[in-house]
């Protein structure tokens, strides 16, 4: 069943990763190490990262972001 829930930035720390595989890896890894204040988002392809960051700055977020990191596997 396809979820209709949309992505919103809900945590202060953001980890941007490339692709669904990387996204699920980091979500699992953060859970294993009980890291609860980091949100993982898939930015698509590396060529879109700049555009993605610009788009992200216009999107919903509750509270203020304190850090954005990029994760690679």
């Amino acid at each position: 069943m396809i979820s209709s829930k949309k992505n919103e930035i809900i945590k202060k720390k953001l980890l941007l990763v490339e692709g669904a595989d990387a996204m699920y890896f980091f979500i699992q890894a953060l859970q294993v190490f009980s890291v609860n204040d980091v949100q993982v988002l898939d930015f698509g392809g590396i060529t879109e990262l700049t555009a993605y960051l610009k788009m992200l700055s216009n999107c919903n977020y509750s509270g203020s972001l304190t850090s954005i990191s990029c994760g690679l596997i």
Binding site: K6, N7, E8, G44, A51, Y52, M55, C59
Partner: protein, 367 residues
């Protein structure tokens, strides 16, 4: 057929201060087709109302229409009921300022409440419409009244002054000095039902000029079987009928809400040439599957009639449909503005077609 007219009337920037829920809002970029989104009560409809007020300032009914569009049938006849709702925090001691960058030049309007307005006309006794009064009392005094003083600076004339007056006889307008601008504005409210009679009148205006076939071409985008439209007298009103290849013509209202809604929108655009059309909750009454074609028709009509179209939406499907329907050269005509409220400040975030497409492709919440 879909020409990009060189002489474009375009509002490219808008600032609103002290109006309704906006202490201040700056929208740095508007396009030919602009879609406004955001949470409930963030002020999307208020932006359309500010734009309409900016254009329709010579209409003494303007504030009554603002209430009508919101579904309010009647209000108390006093400034606190008629005018206070448009002021930020209902504070009529403050000033409202609306400024727009139009074709690169700033035009500005300010509104202030004047509780001591003195009318320039002293009414004579026994006034009858169409007849010159024969007497006036020598002890006649001018009764102070309430007014909303509008000062407007445009390209054609600085310091135009207009007073919207609440007097003993009703709501009126007193003009100190102004120029009549030729820019039209039309607002299709969210709560305003499709009005077949009004649509028939607009269609009639185009029919007189021989422009009715253009409307058929736009409607064919969602109803390919449509061959022609005509206005048919039905009792004391006219209804637009369409030929879709059946044995007889049928009222457009019978063809489905999508066709009726698109017809209302296209007629609004076609009769607001060189002006601005505002559509509140543009997705109302339209199935999501035809929404991309609705957008395509709106964008092509806006180019054809040299119109700027500003819409509001709550719907993610409407955003998806805009991306899908406004492809190719139409994409450059479009932008999406998300209105956000954070720390009690209103902020406008602008997405062009590419940025909104990326947001939708990555499933980001952008409403």
């Amino acid at each position: 057929m879909y020409r990009l007219n060189r002489r474009i009337y375009m509002i490219s920037k808008l600032s609103i201060e002290g109006f309704k829920g906006f202490e201040r809002l700056d929208i740095p970029s508007l396009s030919r087709i602009t879609l406004l989104g955001g949470h409930n009560n963030v002020g999307k409809t208020s932006i359309l109302e500010a734009l309409f007020l900016f254009h329709d300032r010579l209409n003494p009914q303007i504030f009554l229409r603002l209430f009508a569009w919101r579904g309010v049938g009647s209000i108390a006849f006093e400034p606190d009921s008629i005018w206070a709702p448009i002021f930020y925090n209902y504070d009529m001691d403050k000033k409202i300022e609306i400024s727009a960058m139009i074709n690169g030049i700033e035009e500005k309007m300010s509104l202030t409440f004047n509780p001591h307005y003195v009318p320039v006309v002293i009414p004579a006794k026994n006034m009858r419409p169409g007849f010159r009064p024969t007497q006036i009392s020598t002890d006649q005094k001018v009764e102070p009244s309430f007014s909303l003083d509008i000062v407007y600076n445009s390209q054609k004339m600085k310091n135009q002054k207009i007073h919207l007056v609440i007097g003993l006889d009703g709501v009126g307008i007193q003009i100190d000095n102004t120029v009549i601008e030729s820019r039209k504005a039309t607002l299709l409210g969210a709560r305003t039902a499709i009005n077949p009679k009004e649509d028939a009148q607009k269609f009639g205006q185009l029919d007189i000029l021989g422009k009715q076939d253009n409307i058929v071409e736009f409607l064919k985008i969602i109803e390919p079987n449509l061959k022609s439209l005509s206005s048919v007298s039905m009792g004391d009103a006219s209804l637009i009928h369409g030929d879709i290849g059946l044995k007889r013509k049928i009222p457009v209202a019978y063809m489905g809400d999508g066709v009726s809604r698109l017809l209302s929108i296209i007629l609004a655009i076609a009769t607001t040439r060189n002006g601005i059309v505002m559509i509140d909750e543009c997705e109302n009454g339209v199935h999501y599957s035809v929404m991309p074609k609705i957008w395509e028709a709106i964008a092509k009509a806006a180019r054809e009639y040299n119109c700027q179209v500003i819409c509001t939406t709550h719907s993610y499907e409407c955003l998806e449909a805009a991306i899908k329907g406004l492809s190719g050269e139409l994409a450059s005509d479009f932008s999406y503005i998300r209105i956000d409220r954070s720390n009690n400040k209103n902020v406008a975030k602008s997405f062009d077609h590419g940025m909104l497409k990326l947001a939708i492709d990555t499933n980001m919440e952008v409403r």
